[in-house]
């Protein structure tokens, strides 16, 4: 209930702050052309089309505004216009194709594609929609979600649409090399100009900007940050046996031995989706390699024959002695029942698990995965801008909402992740729950490395090869063979 009140308060404050005011009204005192008005207000007559579009959009909702039918129209005295704010006007000019006259007339749809269908993530998306509607009430939002874990099904639906030239106007894209799978130079619009106009290149942390850059361009606007290397543990079990969260793998295995004797599953594992166990492996890699070495695995500067990889495989092999035997029947959320019921002690999963624990009312403890203190294995959801979007002007506003502080706070409080922006004030941070607050602190000072299973570190074909190699390892436990398979996967992806 408190969360709801906080959320409404934020929305009211944000509304008052002026999201509803994406510009100012202007009543003409004498007949003028759009070029004259643009010159007077912006100092440059080139913004005439932006003013025309903004006024027409407003006129669809509020009939006191003028309806402009031609760019060179001389508007009469007393005509009421809507002058958009400078950032939006600049973005309009950057995006608008002068051949598309229909874009000057407002309205239209905004088709938003994502896989956020469950609980907190759907609410977060609705919060973003609400903010968008305040500024752009003339646009009809179409929520084109496709259910299915981690976007598996959504991507399969999206790819043929991209090839056919009928994509959604904007869609959810993981930050990092996942964008390679969409051949962005052919199908997506680079967002470098929008980053400069809206100042995003100054407000997102440099490590994230590095992640967002592919082939020298930005392809999406990040809304959140999730952390992958979190160890969740049952506080009661730890208190009962006098255990502390392990700082390294030796302590971890000592704890496992103690718990195994007591008949409790020391470390729970899921793998029904095929990605949960490779997720665990990527966090182990982050512990046996330095952040630079880990990043180097995906760029080719660190060979996969590195002893750190061998060590990580050995650790995973040892962990398999302590996991629940039915791991292949569990998805990431069903296996957390072990911890909730007190039959399992620990689990490694990204911080979307916090949302699950909160919904079940479990007071769970958290710590970085052993050996990864000071390392933040990050993934981020962003929104991309396809070249053949049917309503390109409406996308500008959507990306602006996603990248804005108000949008990110409203979204992340519902989703259980943290905003990507660095300018969140301490008062605003205090609205988030204790885990998220500690996560934001870590985000500001830890070394940031990209997650591979969630689309940041490697293109999808490599992610699938990596996943297949680890899945086979779970059964064969063949360290040398799996390391060779990982070397081959890297060779196939990097072309060396």
């Amino acid at each position: 209930m408190r969360k709801v009140v906080w959320f409404l308060a934020v929305l009211v404050v944000v509304g008052l702050l002026g999201w509803a005011q994406a510009g100012t009204p202007l009543v003409l005192d004498k007949p003028s052309s759009l070029a004259d008005i643009s010159l007077k207000v912006f100092g440059d007559s080139a913004y005439a089309p932006a003013i025309m579009r903004a006024t027409n959009s407003k006129a669809l909702v509020d009939h006191s505004f003028a309806r402009i039918s031609r760019l060179d129209e001389i508007l009469p005295a007393g005509a009421k216009l809507w002058v958009p704010d400078a950032a939006w006007a600049k973005a309009f000019l950057a995006v608008w194709d002068p051949n598309r006259v229909e874009d000057l007339f407002g309205g239209g749809k905004l088709v938003v594609g994502s896989w956020w269908t469950a609980g907190g993530e759907a609410e977060g998306l609705e919060a973003l929609f609400a903010l968008y509607r305040e500024s752009f009430p003339d646009v009809v939002i179409v929520n084109a979600t496709v259910a299915g874990g981690a976007g598996f099904v959504f991507k399969a639906v999206l790819k043929p649409r991209l090839i056919a030239g009928d994509p959604p106007d904007t869609f959810q894209l993981h930050a990092g090399l996942e964008v390679e799978g969409y051949s962005p130079e052919v199908y997506l619009r680079p967002l470098d100009d929008l980053y400069a106009i809206f100042g995003w290149d100054k407000v997102f942390p440099p490590d994230l900007l590095d992640l967002m850059r592919y082939e020298g361009h930005y392809w999406g606007v990040p809304v959140n940050i999730h952390r992958s290397n979190v160890l969740w543990y049952n506080k009661e079990i730890f208190a009962k046996y006098g255990l502390k969260p392990p700082a390294n793998w030796d302590e971890f295995f000592q704890i496992c031995e103690v718990l195994k004797e007591k008949g409790i599953v020391p470390i729970t594992l899921a793998n029904a989706g095929g990605w949960e166990a490779p997720h665990l492996f990527e966090t182990i890699l982050a512990s046996t390699l330095t952040p630079e070495e880990y990043r180097g695995l995906w760029t080719g500067t660190t060979p996969w024959t590195h002893p750190g990889v061998t060590q990580a495989l050995e650790i995973l092999k040892k962990i398999l002695d302590y996991v629940n035997p039915d791991y292949s029947a569990h998805t990431w959320d069903t296996v957390l029942e072990y911890i909730a019921a007190g039959r399992g002690a620990m689990n490694v999963m990204g911080d979307w698990a916090m949302g699950w624990f909160m919904a079940k009312g479990v007071d769970v403890g958290w710590a970085p995965v052993p050996g990864t203190k000071g390392v933040f294995v990050a993934l981020s959801d962003t929104f991309a801008f396809p070249k053949r979007a049917s309503n390109p002007i409406n996308v500008i506003g959507w990306l602006a909402v996603c990248g804005s502080k108000e949008g990110q706070i409203a979204f992340n409080m519902r989703k259980g992740s943290i905003p990507a922006r660095t300018d969140i004030t301490p008062e605003e941070k205090a609205q988030f729950n204790p885990y998220l607050q500690s996560c934001m602190e870590d985000w500001a000072r830890d070394a940031i490395v990209p997650s591979v299973m969630h689309g940041a570190a490697a293109p999808e074909s490599w992610v699938v090869d990596f996943k297949d190699a680890i899945n086979l390892f779970l059964v064969t436990k063949d360290v040398a063979g799996t390391q060779a398979a990982l070397v081959a996967a890297a060779k196939a992806a990097l072309g060396k």
């Binding site: 598996f152 991507k155 399969a156 790819k159 991209l162 090839i163 799978g181 969409y182 051949s183 052919v186 199908y187 008949g263 409790i264 599953v265 793998n271 029904a272 989706g273 095929g274 629940n324 035997p325 039915d326 791991y327 292949s328 029947a329 029942e337 072990y338 019921a341 039959r343 399992g344 999808e460 074909s461 992610v463 699938v464 090869d465 297949d468 899945n471 086979l472 779970l474 059964v475 064969t476 398979a485």
Partner: protein
């Protein structure tokens, strides 16, 4: 008179023409396109139709996961087709005894056929979920425990040595009713006089089945074989709903791997290669049957 025959001929061709054209384009045309794509270099999102020979097929056969899926397909097909035929035949023989509640039993055995594989997959996923020592057994394992047969418990689809066999159990449960219905109709079509004659000649019941009934049911067996065979080779939704690829890919099948390869890894050309391989396997099964049935039609 001759004109009327000509007109009839023209009309019949016109009637069939739209369907024939549609099949020509959408079935044979797409098969040709897929074959070409499997020899092309289309392994990113952007289509690339340059010819690269058999490179994709080579890469597929070097992929350990693909070889596992082929092995799983063989095991699954053998178990599913064989199991459904045997179970369906046994059920039909039992129901053929003119028992009292025959209609009721027939309906019960046929009901699973009305379900989609997705429903079957979810139900059997729960039934064959082994549970664990810490959280207790569930499903079939729990039943075995309660009956005192705890030593029969296995990991079902979480055990990589069993894997696809668990999926076959679910599939047999679904389709054996269909086979039973076919055999029941066939058994009813065998005149009682033939069996009487065999009994008079001194044959035992078992011999009657072996030498009289089964040979007469051969066309039904073939028909069931074809239907079951093609379902089995294209099995996909049951695997998705029930187990996913499974530990060590022990439940993986070519259709599932093809979907993941094409839409996740963007390897469209390799995915097309798997599709063509599946087509070839299905053809090996179907073409001899078609030739056999065509020959029989010509003979009669």
């Amino acid at each position: 008179m001759w004109l009327k025959r000509k007109r009839d001929q023209v009309l019949s061709v016109l009637l069939v023409l739209p369907s024939a054209l549609a099949i020509l384009v959408f079935v044979y045309g797409f098969i040709a396109l897929t074959t070409y794509v499997s020899f092309s270099n289309w392994n990113r999102l952007v289509p690339d139709y340059s010819f690269v020979g058999a490179a994709n097929y080579l890469r597929l056969f070097q992929n350990p996961r693909f070889l596992i899926t082929l092995r799983n397909l063989g095991v699954f097909t053998g178990l599913f087709v064989g199991g459904s035929l045997v179970l369906g035949f046994l059920l039909a023989v039992l129901l053929d005894r003119r028992i009292k509640a025959e209609g009721l039993f027939r309906t019960i055995y046929l009901y699973p056929l009305a379900l989609s594989f997705i429903v079957t997959g979810v139900v059997w996923r729960w039934l064959l979920n082994p549970g664990s020592p810490q959280m207790g057994s569930t499903g079939i394992n729990l039943l075995l425990e309660m009956m005192g047969l705890g030593f029969l418990k296995t990991g079902w689809y979480t055990d990589p040595r069993i894997g696809i066999i668990a999926v076959a159990v679910a599939a047999i449960w679904q389709m054996s009713g269909y086979v039973m219905a076919m055999y029941l109709a066939g058994l009813r079509g065998i005149p009682e006089e033939l069996r009487e004659a065999a009994r008079v000649d001194g044959a035992s019941e078992l011999q009657i089945y072996r030498y009289v009934v089964l040979p007469l049911l051969r066309p039904i067996t073939f028909g069931a074989l074809i239907v079951l065979g093609h379902i089995s080779l294209k099995i996909y939704d049951l695997v998705v709903a029930m187990t996913g690829p499974g530990p060590g890919y022990s439940c993986d099948v070519p259709a599932y791997f093809m979907w993941e390869l094409t839409f996740r890894a963007n390897r469209f050309a390799q995915g097309a290669g798997i599709a063509i391989i599946l087509l070839v396997i299905v053809s090996i099964l179907i073409v001899p049957y078609l030739r056999y049935s065509l020959r029989r039609e010509v003979e009669t």
